[in-house]
Symmetry: C2
Subunit: 275 residues, 2 copies
């Protein structure tokens, strides 16, 4: 069983990509709605919540866990990887997106958008700097020698998405406002550093134009797991494959069902649990 | 000492009104940022959080406690009043606003705006129906015999206010959208049923026009306490009066300081506490 968790429904956009690639696996999703949004917690509190969620999923039999939240991946992933030391395997959604962006960028102008928590943590920049020597290959003679990196927090996009205002004028205005500095910096690659943003990707694509590749951390995470399994066939073998899907939420099952179904693109029913 | 609590900074608009009327009292403010926003919790979870906060303030010596959050007043006030039975005195922000609206309305067309939690609880309507027989006096021959009541949830106003977007076009557009059904219903009295909304009152006044009185639950709560003290001089006597102000927050003291100062209109420094 693969365990996937997030503060609410956002992680379901990550699960959606996994389901496309690996429909046979058993999945258990945990939405920690009681403590949402993760973007506004301190680092210490977030660490505590992430450990609680992992404990829950491990007890339920998950052999591999995906931290399907950019803020939690940014702030708490290293912390929990040190605690659990590979048992279970814990993966985040940041590194796959960074690797993907470094591979795709033409001129070495990369941008990221995310919640205030993710952006303030500076985790994307740290990962870019860590991997760029190995992965960045300029594809044009005018390209930067070192990656230029730009980031922008977009705190209103989560509430706007959760209100279902995907196509509203207000959302378009906020997107234009948030994306303007990145457009002015002529980025050629934009990372969607929040699991809610794939729902806004059409409009983001339109605003950024043809010269900017938009990379979702959800899709990158699902793509990257294939490489992981190649390097770790034992982990692949340990995951049960009966196409089971189990959903838990720590609060408001009705809201989980309503919004979750929109995020996953199919009907979900979440059982409420105390953690 | 008077204890005041809310999920974050919103309750500071209530405290601001208390400070104007009773600057000599000692006040302790608790912002439960770790569990914000209260508007998206289930009723059970909210009850639990409210009891935790009250326990904390009682242990710190508060003789009177103000639940300075509309959602918590709507969902959990009766629950904690039954637990504590007047020791300490626990007051909310709903009933004062309802009494004020019933007193002021000319035609008996009253509206309320609030978070999704407050509106879904239907608590304002319940209180209106409970008090209207005693308090509603039609002031015009065209007035309704019974109060007509309209409500509207405005889930984006809290994030917009917290982003400091008080005067932005986007906020104005959202306000117009949310207020349109109330304006079309020709309400003559509007209750601001969320502690964040007083920051938007100028624009709300402008949109609703001269024929609609706008009533803030913050100001109504502070006005009502005078009557309460007249009926309960012993409670008034029990409150210490050294003009002390103490601020606690359950998470992110920097954000508490930044936003809190904007909401209170003077500098606050919040000490972080675990509850």
């Amino acid at each position: 069983m693969i365990g996937i968790f997030d503060s609410g429904f956002g992680g379901l956009t990550v699960m959606k990509e996994y389901l496309k690639k690996y429909p046979d696996f058993d999945y258990m999703y945990l939405g920690d709605q009681a403590n949402m949004p993760y973007g506004s917690h301190s680092k210490e509190r977030l660490n505590k919540l992430v450990v609680q969620n992992i404990e829950f999923l491990v007890k339920k039999g998950c052999k591999m866990i995906i931290v399907a939240c950019n803020t939690a991946s940014a702030d708490a992933l290293r912390h929990v990887q040190q605690i659990y030391k590979g048992n279970p395997t814990i993966l985040g959604v940041l590194v796959p997106a960074v690797e993907n962006a470094l591979d795709k960028t033409r001129f070495g102008n990369i941008g990221v958008i995310g919640t205030r928590g993710t952006i303030n943590s500076n985790a994307y920049e740290r990962e870019i700097r860590k991997y760029e020597k190995d992965l960045y290959k300029p594809k044009d003679k005018r390209a930067n020698k070192e990656v230029k990196f730009y980031q922008q927090s977009c705190p209103l996009l989560v509430p706007l998405t959760e209100e279902g205002m995907i196509k509203s004028t207000v959302t378009r205005m906020m997107l234009k406002k948030y994306l303007r500095p990145l457009k002015n910096a002529h980025i050629d690659t934009l990372i969607l550093g929040c699991t809610h943003y794939p729902l806004l990707q059409k409009e983001i694509d339109r605003i950024m134009g043809k010269n900017c590749k938009v990379i979702s951390s959800a899709m990158s995470a699902a793509d990257a797991i294939g490489d992981y399994f190649e390097r770790h066939p034992d982990v692949l073998k340990s995951i049960s494959k009966n196409s089971k899907r189990i959903y838990y939420t720590t609060d408001c099952p009705e809201r989980f069902e309503d919004l979750g179904s929109r995020f996953l693109g199919e009907r979900v029913e979440g059982e409420k649990v105390e953690i």
